[in-house]
């Protein structure tokens, strides 16, 4: 092994620590420059099978759940928990977990991988199981990059050993079609229940076309976004048969419970994660572990032990008032979060923080693709604070969605907004919904106030 990269990486990690920087990708970036095979070399030392999770939404939660379950079964796991999911982030986490000679003493590895980085790292990682959650066009992708990305992902999957398992979300047409004519062990998960909460078709819904004949897909059921039970009336292609199907889904404020049908077995599952979309994340993490041979009692224990990372459905207190924090980064994610809040069925005070820094996407028009109208007409909302560089845009969006402007307060400073919202809160649940760089500000506020999750 070429050790120069590992050693350099170690020093950069140390340097980042000393200067108080969050070095989740810089060390790997520099190390890869002098040792381009570093990922492949280190990963050879991981004893058992590796897992890769990719897709637009849900990969942080899904990979986190898979890793937690594996840990609960007594395994040591290398996992890029902090969400650094590009080539450089994966190199960094491997360097962190190995010694100066590049030896890694871990039983397994679970990696969240950015869709566009899949072709760069998939074959180096050489996973036993690849999970694909969904593909959404977000606002940064309007020029068909997604189509190209999916094609490249498929090409890299084609180069995996034939006994690798590809676990696909059958309910999302783009993802399901990845399995067509692929010479791997392809399996599908999806929802068997009708998951009909009277949600209208989301405005961010994107019509999907049959890859065989180009016909418009028709939906028997829409779960969220373009996820559902669909078929092509022209040629008869339909959602693939499910290897893992979710049944009897129950959603409450305290979490979700459901049954998974797998072969001739029915498995009861509970999770403290809320929101219908988490059924997919929990189900795919359970399915992955079943395929890896993890015993069922460890699977449930792992789900119980899982704690979301900061800002992902994190529960906390602001001046003693219960608050839930969830990152919103695209229309589908925003819709899902609003649906989750609606399911909780409690009076709400909202703090929505929207920045338009480069990392957020500088165009905030996507706020109008969110089905705010549906949410406002069904949820009980008492106070709203909008914040961030685009607080005014958000306030305007809410006004047109039907919230009385008198109940909307614009406070550009996220710090001041977080100070303010508990002062108008009595019995309501506070929901703090920041976009990407706003979440950093929320997190540093929490840190400086010593607030713990």
């Amino acid at each position: 092994m070429d050790l120069l990269g590992v050693v350099l990486g170690k020093f950069v990690i140390l340097g980042c620590k000393l200067t108080g920087k969050n070095g989740t990708s810089l060390p790997g970036k520099l190390a890869l420059k002098i040792s381009p095979n570093l990922i492949k070399d280190i990963i050879k030392g991981v004893k058992n099978e590796k897992v890769v999770v990719t897709g637009t939404n849900g990969k942080t939660t899904t990979s986190g759940l898979i890793a937690e379950i594996l840990k609960s079964s007594g395994k040591t796991v290398v996992h890029n928990r902090e969400g650094a999911n590009m080539l450089s982030g994966i190199a960094t986490i491997l360097i962190k977990n190995s010694d100066f000679f590049g030896n890694i003493k871990r039983d397994t590895g679970v990696f969240e991988v950015d869709e566009a980085n899949m072709p760069l790292v998939l074959n180096d990682i050489n996973p036993k199981v690849v999970v694909v959650t969904n593909f959404f066009r977000d606002q940064l992708d309007r020029y068909g990059e997604l189509d190209i990305t999916i094609k490249k992902v498929k090409e890299s999957l084609n180069r995996l050993p034939k006994d690798s398992i590809l676990l696909l979300n059958a309910d999302e047409p783009f993802t399901a079609s990845l399995g067509d004519d692929l010479d791997l062990n392809v399996m599908y998960y999806g929802i068997l229940d009708k998951l009909n909460y009277g949600y209208s078709l989301s405005p961010a819904f994107e019509q999907k076309y049959c890859p065989v004949c180009g016909g418009k897909y028709v939906y028997k059921d829409v779960f969220y976004g373009q996820l559902g039970d669909y078929y092509c009336p022209k040629c008869g292609k339909s959602r693939p048969d499910l290897d893992f199907g979710a049944l009897d889904i129950k959603l409450t404020e305290d979490g979700i419970s459901f049954k998974i049908k797998y072969e001739d077995k029915i498995i009861n599952i509970e999770s403290h994660l809320t929101g219908a979309y988490n059924v997919y994340n929990v189900m795919s993490s359970v399915a992955t572990n079943i395929l890896l041979g993890t015993p069922l009692n460890h699977i449930q224990a792992g789900l119980n032990n899982y704690r979301p990372i900061a800002g992902r459905l994190q529960t906390t207190y602001l001046k003693g008032k219960k608050a839930i924090i969830n990152l919103i980064k695209n229309p589908i994610g925003f819709d899902s979060t609003l649906n989750m809040l609606r399911e909780i069925n409690k009076p709400l005070n909202l703090l929505i923080a929207i920045n338009d820094n480069y990392a957020d996407g500088r165009d905030v028009s996507w706020l109008w693709d969110v089905d705010m109208e549906n949410f406002v007409s069904h949820a009980k909302i008492n106070h709203v604070v909008t914040s961030g560089l685009r607080a005014e845009d958000m306030a305007l969006r809410l006004k047109y969605a039907g919230i009385d402007p008198k109940r909307i307060k614009i406070i550009n400073s996220i710090e001041n907004a977080l100070d303010y919202i508990p002062t108008v809160t009595n019995e309501e649940l506070i929901a703090v919904l920041p976009n990407y760089t706003s979440l950093h500000e929320v997190n540093s506020y929490m840190k400086s106030r010593g607030v713990k999750a």
Binding site: P203, E206, D363, V364, S365, Y400
Partner: protein, 243 residues
């Protein structure tokens, strides 16, 4: 009173937040007691546009834009052009704006025809113009600023037609002549997303007024409380317009 708002291809051109324009037209009518009905016009809809008071045509990604372009130029050009000549109030944005023009010259030298309702043409550019944009516009003797977000690589040039406004910040039609958008009769073309109508209430009300005038001969509108609208607009002007 009632206005019918035609939304062109909502199933195909639905990713730019431009549906915010439809929401805004509807709300600003309803807040004044004017009924507003939204009609979707897509590939298999038959209409000669005589039942429409305000028409909205947005833009989409390349694949959708191609489907829309075929349907508009091959099937609807004649009806749409005569409706425009007749004074239909029409707002077109980005790709939709380009399609109302004479042609789009692609980078490989192909001339893709538009419907030719506006005396403009568009040339593929090699640099994408992505930024906030501020313009100043004078319509019917009223001068006002408008803000939005532009995201296009096509460069549009006006011939015998007036611009919608003058660029204060950003690129506008082509990044060269300081002009943005086009106006012909009651038809408006612009590159402003954002979406444009919520945060530019003077412009929105002007569209509603033109439609009411054409249908009912009425051109007075009850004023609304636009403080949020102006806060949003001013936040952008304060951040980006050079003093």
């Amino acid at each position: 009173m009632k206005l019918t708002i035609g939304h062109m291809y909502p199933d195909l051109l639905n990713l730019y937040g431009d549906r915010g324009n439809i929401i805004t037209l509807k709300k600003r009518c309803e807040w004044r007691g004017i009924d507003a009905e939204i009609k979707s016009i897509t590939i298999d809809t038959n209409t000669d546009f005589t039942d429409i008071d305000i028409l909205f045509l947005g833009g989409g990604s390349d694949r959708e834009q191609k489907i829309v372009s075929d349907d508009l130029t091959l099937r609807r050009a004649k009806n749409l052009k005569s409706a425009i000549e007749d004074g239909l109030t029409l707002l077109s944005i980005c790709g939709g704006y380009q399609l109302l023009g004479k042609y789009y010259l692609s980078s490989d030298g192909n001339k893709l025809p538009g419907i030719g309702a506006l005396d403009i043409y568009t040339v593929a550019g090699n640099k994408r113009m992505i930024d906030n944009i501020i313009i100043e516009s004078t319509i019917d003797g009223k001068t006002f600023k408008m803000v939005g977000f532009e995201n296009h690589s096509g460069k549009t040039f006006l011939q015998n037609v007036k611009p919608l406004g003058r660029v204060i910040y950003g690129n506008g039609n082509n990044g060269e002549d300081g002009m943005e958008g086009a106006v012909y009769k009651n038809t408006f073309g612009t590159y402003l997303h954002g979406p444009v109508l919520p945060k530019n209430p003077e412009f929105t009300d002007m569209l509603i007024r033109k439609a009411l005038d054409r249908k009912y001969g009425k051109n007075q509108l009850e004023p609304l409380d636009d403080s949020f609208e102006h806060l949003t607009q001013n936040a952008i002007i304060k951040r980006f317009a050079k003093k």
